[in-house]
Symmetry: C2
Subunit: 363 residues, 2 copies
């Protein structure tokens, strides 16, 4: 049975944990906000579930608690940020706020950042812009995971692209890895002891791995330049469009690592404390093109037309952001969902740090 | 056997044909340049092969020879262009040149255009920026072709995304439909009487069509809101990433039709002379982020690392732009390739317009 918890109480606990690490009041509040936002929108893999990984990195110094992101180069429409290995979420909020400020003043803001950390869901930052009436985009690179078309070694990251745009009844939010599935999806299937669908994971370039018992190969997914990798969106042959997902992964690399002169996917490793992912944050004010109300109205009608197309029997047509909006309604009303293992991990962190916690149950 | 022709002679003939339609010297030269560029880079589907379609549209008034694109709204970093139903290539060159000029002056230029025409390959315009040391992007929408995930009606266009970036030994050029394959690929397979690979085309949302004899269904690909459509990149199930290609198609719609208040994919029809595709053109100067030579050097090294990864036996790893560069070398040395049918069509147009033509053979 799914267990429900009071999101305000969980947020307060997360806040106290980050305060205990040494983050400021404002920083702790921001981190708690991003993690709870993610869980409330149904993306459990990137919510409080990630706290145990961040805890590990805070303890071993990969995430530097006292670090602050800083602008190292700037124009009216752009900035390069060095995150100095601070917490990814704090860098993300800082950098997207710069992009938003520039977009409001000059129409466009493009920020590229280096030496950041894992920043959760890219869609959170894209949506920060959309919540202010702007178009937002964000991407991050990651350690090697994707097999370039015809390659037998994982090299490019899962490199998600997030895009958000104001719409009614809620923002359009696209947030997707440029691999067929992200790493987290493989982990979920392994935990559930389910075999993997066709062509999520390939060995030696084009040999499918489906058996969840194939521990050695699936563990090798985490090795740099491994002969086991995630397939690009479009699979492993040019016939099915493999080169398209692969190319989109490279484009993400340009906006994140290449323009910031940060670490490329292939240089990133969880064990190396001197490298960190590179990220990008773009905001565009639709007002530079026309009347924003008219643009948003037209876009909302276009999306509604799609929702109302004929569908495969038993299936529903969702546009991007619909499922997350439904999850949010459910969680706000019935409580957020945390699995037992994750809850135990969070409580364990709190206990170790001497953070007091009462009941997290719904009232 | 593949027949080879002198590209300079073919270009001169194309130039004369466009002059005969009533285009100016400069316009005719520009159109000839884009079409021959496309054939020389090995993309035969979008080169002189398209002249017969344009000829049809010029004759019936869908392409208005005397029209000129005009800026209807502008800021330092943006412009909205109304192409007034002129030739797509002329709108593309005009609009990308505005984006380039703005990027050189202010770092970024984003141009969105409405009421354009079929503009050939998106990569041509993206590469115009890369040839001037900038990052370039271009997209176009098109008549309905893509099945939104779970929908049984084609609604979104094939909506390609092109991205170009300076690199050595040649520019990186990504240019790909957000469907698994573009319409042209289906036509090529039908002409060759080859069955279609898995999941290029689906009926009623998720029923594969592979048999090239299935004329009624494959012809229905061209009908608006047809129950036969092209699959999004990622196929027709969420498991394989269908929603990703579908979402990228919508993002293209935003930058092209929504921001320009032009025609969305679903409104576009070859038969309707009062609508035309919407397009986008973006240029970004990498100098706003850092030293351009260093950035290009780092990117070129990154691409070279990919080329040198281990490959599936018998396969080669290409990065985007490599195949086109190889085709260009071959065609420049050995002559451009035109199939007999296309050549007869072009000669037919020339004869009808009273345009004289000598031999097109290699000397």
């Amino acid at each position: 049975m799914v267990k429900r918890y009071d999101s305000d109480k969980v947020k307060a606990l997360v806040h106290k944990i980050y305060k205990a690490y040494g983050f400021t009041e404002k920083q702790s509040s921001a981190v708690a906000e991003t993690l709870i936002y993610t869980d409330l929108h149904g993306i459990a893999s990137h919510g409080v579930q990630r706290m145990v990984m961040y805890d590990h990195f805070i303890q071993n110094g990969k995430i530097r608690v006292q670090s602050k992101p800083e602008v190292v180069k700037e124009t009216d429409v752009s900035a390069v940020v060095d995150a100095n290995f601070g917490l990814g979420q704090l860098n993300g909020i800082y950098s997207m706020n710069i992009a938003i400020k520039k977009a409001k003043a000059h129409g466009v803001g493009i920020v590229t950042t280096r030496h950041s950390g894992h920043y959760g869901i890219a869609g959170y930052y894209a949506n920060m812009a959309a919540d202010q009436g702007l178009i937002g985009l964000s991407s991050t690179n990651s350690r090697p995971a994707m097999l370039p078309t015809h390659a037998t070694q994982a090299f490019v990251g899962t490199n998600p692209i997030a895009f958000a745009m104001p719409a009614k009844p809620h923002n359009f939010i696209y947030d997707a890895a440029t691999t067929t599935v992200p790493q987290g999806k493989i982990e979920v299937y392994r935990k559930l002891e389910k075999d993997l669908p066709a062509l999520w994971v390939a060995k030696d370039g084009n040999q499918e791995i489906n058996d969840h018992h194939d521990t050695a190969d699936l563990d090798a997914l985490r090795d740099p330049l491994s002969n086991v990798g995630l397939t690009p969106l479009g699979g492993v042959t040019e016939e099915t469009g493999s080169h398209k997902g692969f190319g989109l992964g490279i484009i993400v690399e340009v906006f994140t690592a290449i323009l910031s002169m940060g670490n490329t996917s292939t240089e990133i490793s969880p064990e190396n404390l001197q490298v960190g992912p590179s990220q990008s944050f773009i905001a565009i004010d639709p007002a530079i093109f026309g009347d924003v109300d008219q643009i948003v109205q037209r876009f909302s009608e276009y999306l509604q037309q799609i929702r109302e197309l004929s569908a495969i029997p038993g299936k529903k047509i969702y546009v991007h952001g619909d499922k997350e909006a439904l999850a949010y309604e459910d969680r706000k009303q019935n409580g957020m969902i945390i699995d037992d293992k994750t809850l135990a991990e969070v409580i364990g962190i709190a206990d170790r740090l001497g953070v007091k916690h009462g009941s997290l149950a719904m009232d």
